[in-house]
Symmetry: C3
Subunit: 208 residues, 3 copies
Amino acid sequence: MTLIALLDGASVFVFALTGGLAASRAQLDIIGFLFFAALTAVGGGTVRDLLLDRTPFWIDRPSYLLIAASAAIVVFFTAHLVESRARWLTWFDAAALSVAVPAGLAAAYGTGVGSAVAIIMGVLTGTMGGLMRDVVANEVPMVLRQGELYVTAAFVGAASGVLLAPTLGLVAALSVTAAVTFLLRAGSLAFGWRLPVYKARPPRDRQS
Amino acid sequence: MTLIALLDGASVFVFALTGGLAASRAQLDIIGFLFFAALTAVGGGTVRDLLLDRTPFWIDRPSYLLIAASAAIVVFFTAHLVESRARWLTWFDAAALSVAVPAGLAAAYGTGVGSAVAIIMGVLTGTMGGLMRDVVANEVPMVLRQGELYVTAAFVGAASGVLLAPTLGLVAALSVTAAVTFLLRAGSLAFGWRLPVYKARPPRDRQS
Amino acid sequence: MTLIALLDGASVFVFALTGGLAASRAQLDIIGFLFFAALTAVGGGTVRDLLLDRTPFWIDRPSYLLIAASAAIVVFFTAHLVESRARWLTWFDAAALSVAVPAGLAAAYGTGVGSAVAIIMGVLTGTMGGLMRDVVANEVPMVLRQGELYVTAAFVGAASGVLLAPTLGLVAALSVTAAVTFLLRAGSLAFGWRLPVYKARPPRDRQS
């Protein structure tokens, strides 16, 4: 329980930083920063908790909202100092993804669901907050960026943890999940690691 | 309970008007009007109810759906008469926001959550229906409009109500919430009231 | 129960095909295909189950996830063979809609809700998965395509089933729902059947 709380707390803080950065790119006011920080920070875990029929984690412990709010305030007063907000957003998002995926796994294990569902919960907890941020902010969702490992990093990380949990124990397996997720995402960003994408043929008949 | 029902009913009707106006701007047919009216009208309250583990309010009382449907039909046959649909949409949305925020607060108080969570429920009930409408209709979400008080109006209104409820009683506090939310939003629309936005520096590296 | 499972299974498979086609249009990798296939395939039924306070159907029976995954893999290796992916996507979506609407109705009947709510559940189960797919993939949502019957097909299909269930029995009524939904949607696509849309006057004041 404490482990979930820690992982949730860390992912809340770092996802809230990315929400604040998205708000800074949209040039919102301080309450807009709080809104995006909170949406991004608790979005993924809330989807997970609704699906697993748990009380959303921030309703049980509203202190998570304070964590998200302080991250928003930090970004509001410091984002102009950094050189490239998109770059910071991307890397913070990678860090948050890497703690949110094991947080999702841990919560799923606590409810006794099977392996496949646990993996899904890890992926959803990791990706849904950022997806909501990007859809609401009218940015291209990270899941759509071609030639980057994003959902893939979350999926392989979650699957590694589920595979290793019986032999390593839960805590060590969750660490593996975090490490694998971050390594794949970071390697993709830094070195261009990628899976083959669907054969690029120009869509002849895109209707819009 | 009756108070929540009244506030929910009023916000359902006025939000449904805005959903109908969004459908008219997208030039949909009558069922498209019903779809957008219902999505906007019950979206925020449904999110609130799912988070609080209550039965969504329109499942318990399907008459809300009739309210939303009649608003959709009214708009379908009258929207061409008005001069500026975007302007009507914005002002109806302001009115709906001002009743939906206290409706969210009232529902939250009924489940015994703390102050911070109650404020969030007020803000979510007020903003989520319109956000769904704008995201699905491919309009710029109101929460992203620079230099307007929107989430801010909902937040300050909800916080005022939570602060005053112990001394004024719930009904008076909810009236304050509605009044403060509407005044801030209307002042922002009519007189340009605003908070300082994040320092406008052109984003040098927008990736899309 | 078995009937719901069958309908859910069929709609999962066909919606997953459309999710895979959307992923192919966005040129994602295989995990991107799995993500979009799963989102589209279980999105509508998950919304339905959360609203009805049922355990999401794929958590109870994770084999649905395997169905979605196999559809994603099929599309990943065959989508380049087809002439017009947008056209296949549209027609598969029509087929999936036609089985998902009765699946939603059936699930709603199982929980004892009234007629209006049952119709809504049918419409939501049919449309929400595709809507999530389109919003996340940055495609124009099918619900917004002018002059096509989409929500209308789902709505009339669901309403027919609800009207006929008392006399025909549930299984026959669900077949009527599937047939009516498909006929209206297919007639709209093939022959341009449509309802009158909102009087087309150019929006003079579109703010964006």
